[in-house]
């Protein structure tokens, strides 16, 4: 049956921020498939101008309510790079641990609260409290663990308080870290059950060849700093990030968009996994194999499973980070610093993909120029292209409107977009 129809979905639910989906089909052909970002911009890059350096991490954490820790860490890294500060090993270890716990928290939130309802055919987690109470309890338990860990290390799960340029204002106590390790070890059972649950979901059949951008791991699965890599073979230094992101503005988007070797590229859990599969913890690799996930995977819906694999990775890696912290002698929480004229970039893999903060300072450490490139803004163009391909594929198959609408929503959700963050 061939007819004309329009799917218009304003303010897509169960994503962070405001985006619209618009699909128009005429005589079975897709004439238009658009992803629009209508979020109100906040102008952080302008706000920072003229502010002293210490404002940067404090303000920039507030770009995002979900990955405030990642933003704070990227911002701190940019400042430290500009001032030539080398944080202690203790600090880098704690930062990575904190980063891991944010990843776990955010992925669990996405998997259970935002994505799972689609696969289980309900509107929200609320319905699942009735139909799948054990799974909901499991999700809450994992999220609580991750959030408690963020409180412990960062001071606060949202807009962290202990993270500062040079290190931390306060350190967790030994006993607290030991307790965290116990809880993390116990969480593996919940993660295994999560893998069973998500492994049982039917992942939509769809693939579109894509360029994937992420940090490049040397020995480890990368999260904080280092070189940048694309699956099309581009490799750049951290402070050459602009050569990777190539930001531009476009009609229909209050966020900026990015491209590299092709019209668009993707960042996020799937990109990280595709580019650094070998660096995953063996346990995480095993889960990936079980879920049918191997590099290079071009199905964006698989990003959900990539998140799950990363959850397994970060839990295992956190355990060894804690071991390391407990083994080493305690160092001072932070190192002294002196502002200076300079330029610094901080690249951090936040849950939704690679994030860059870059600042230029004058002599007194006042910000002259600021630039932040957010993962979701790098994904927008790719979402748009996926959406077109997907609409075409399914329109051709003659799928019902409701199904296309749901699949389109699921596609966008698979990117776990953080739209308000992208329109910072």
């Amino acid at each position: 049956m061939k007819r004309s129809r329009t799917i218009q979905l304003n303010h897509l639910p169960r994503v962070e921020g405001h985006g619209n989906i618009h699909i128009r089909v005429q005589q079975g052909k897709v004439v238009e498939a658009r992803w629009e970002v209508v979020e109100t911009p906040r102008f952080f890059e302008a706000m920072l101008i003229g502010k002293l350096w210490e404002n940067a991490p404090y303000l920039c954490g507030r770009i995002c309510g979900i990955c405030s820790i990642g933003h704070t860490l990227a911002s701190i890294r940019a400042v430290e790079n500009a001032f030539g500060i080398v944080p202690s090993e203790q600090t880098t270890t704690l930062r990575l641990l904190l980063k891991h716990m944010e990843t776990l928290q955010s992925h669990i939130l996405h998997l259970y609260f935002l994505a799972a309802p689609d696969f289980l055919g309900v509107g929200s987690l609320l319905a699942l409290t009735q139909s799948h109470p054990t799974e909901v309890q499991r999700a809450l338990r994992l999220k609580l663990l991750a959030n408690d860990a963020c409180d412990l290390i960062g001071g606060r799960r949202l807009h962290p308080t202990r993270t500062v340029v040079g290190g931390f204002t306060m350190l967790p106590e030994k006993a607290q870290l030991e307790h965290l390790a116990q809880r993390l070890a116990a969480a593996q059972e919940d993660l295994a059950a999560a893998a069973d649950l998500f492994g049982g979901f039917t992942i939509p059949h769809f693939a579109r060849e894509t360029e994937f951008v992420s940090l490049k791991g040397d020995h480890d699965y990368p999260f904080i700093g280092g070189e940048l890599i694309s699956s099309d073979g581009v490799i750049k230094k951290e402070d050459e990030y602009q050569a990777m992101t190539n930001e531009y503005c476009a009609e229909g988007f209050t966020a900026k968009l990015s491209r590299l070797s092709r019209d668009s590229y993707a960042v996020g859990a799937l990109a990280r996994l595709n580019n650094n599969f070998g660096h995953l913890h063996p346990a995480a690799r095993t889960v990936a194999k079980r879920l049918g996930l191997a590099p290079v995977n071009h199905n964006p819906f698989m990003a959900n499973l990539a998140q799950l694999v990363e959850c397994v990775h970060v839990v295992h890696d956190s355990l060894s980070l804690i071991k390391k912290l407990l083994r080493r002698k305690r160092q001072a929480p932070r190192v002294a610093l002196k502002p200076r004229k300079g330029y610094g970039v901080g690249a951090v893999e936040v849950p939704r993909g690679i994030l860059y903060h870059a600042y230029e300072f004058d002599q007194e450490g006042r910000i002259v120029k600021a630039d932040c490139v957010i993962p979701t803004s790098q994904n927008h163009a790719n979402i748009q292209h996926d959406l077109q391909a997907l609409a075409r594929q399914w329109a051709a198959q003659g799928q019902a409107d409701a199904d296309i609408e749901l699949l389109a929503q699921m596609l966008v959700r698979a990117y776990d977009p953080c739209i308000s963050c992208s329109v910072h």
Binding site: T40, L52, G123, L158
Partner: protein
């Protein structure tokens, strides 16, 4: 349908709650689901009918609107007014909604076109001066903080359900900080806005040896003049103090006074429920 609520033999209505967001980081509403241990009890106390970030269902029939974010575009004004019409009780959730939040920092440049150009170049973008909710509609209740405390949100909602008035502390953060027996940050050599900022956060930042930046706005007897003297005595620059004071918008009139600018008249129409 969940069982009817009652307390001490008095039947209570389960309020229909909508959660909305404007220009913001969506962190405040995230705090709503960030209370894993009590989330299910919390959800039993209310009927969530509109919460875009967490659910697909939407309804315009709600009693309480929890509104996050500041207002910075014409369509937001219209949507906010609609929410006001629908809601019996409109709650401003978080510093952006209460004072403009960090977003209002762009206002300080005055020239909005310059701000837009700085970020978007010549690409046209709609954005106006950032204002708090109360500049456009009557706000019944403010839950302060960037982010707000989940315990406070729960307390406010519990109180609304049983019909208790919600009184925010009027005293400054120092009170809670000292009750927690922290070492004062000034003693440690860090500036802090605790002496003039409204408490209720349980001295969240000073507990972690982080100076307060005033996210909850001024305490009721905020002695800004003395704070200025204290900052100077401890060797902190006026700039560092102003950075903190102007960060969340709560101290906008004090900042204007310190900078010697005339305080811009507010269209404020904040109403108190009787």
């Amino acid at each position: 349908m969940a069982a009817p609520l009652s307390y001490l033999g008095v039947g209570l209505d389960r309020p229909r709650v909508g959660v909305f967001e404007f220009t913001s980081c969506e962190g405040c509403q995230l705090q709503l689901v960030n209370n894993e241990a009590t989330l299910l009890d919390f959800l039993n106390l209310i009927e969530l009918v509109n919460f875009r970030e967490a659910m697909s269902e939407r309804s315009d029939d709600y009693d309480i609107a929890l509104v996050e974010g500041s207002i910075s575009r014409a369509d937001e004004v219209a949507r906010l007014k609609e929410i006001r019409t629908n809601a019996r009780l409109l709650v401003a959730l978080g510093s952006c909604a209460c004072f403009g939040g960090v977003n209002q920092l762009k206002n300080r440049f005055g020239d909005l076109d310059w701000v837009k150009k700085k970020v978007y170049g010549d690409f046209p973008i709609a954005s106006q001066e950032v204002r708090p909710l109360a500049d456009f509609v009557a706000v019944d209740l403010m839950i302060y903080g960037c982010p707000p405390k989940k315990e406070e949100i729960e307390k406010v909602v519990t109180n609304l359900v049983v019909g208790k008035k919600v009184a925010m502390p009027k005293y400054p953060v120092c009170m809670e900080c000292k009750a927690n027996e922290n070492i004062c940050l000034f003693t440690l050599g860090e500036p802090c806005l605790g002496p003039i900022t409204r408490a209720g956060c349980d001295a969240w930042c000073p507990n972690h040896r982080r100076g307060c930046w005033g996210c909850r706005g001024p305490a009721e007897a905020a002695n800004v003049r003395e704070l200025e003297a204290i900052m100077a005595r401890h060797g902190f620059s006026r700039e560092a103090m102003l950075d903190r004071l102007e960060c969340f918008g709560g101290f906008s009139s004090q900042v204007a006074a310190l900078r010697g600018q005339p305080r811009r008249p507010r269209k404020a129409r904040s109403s108190k429920r009787s």
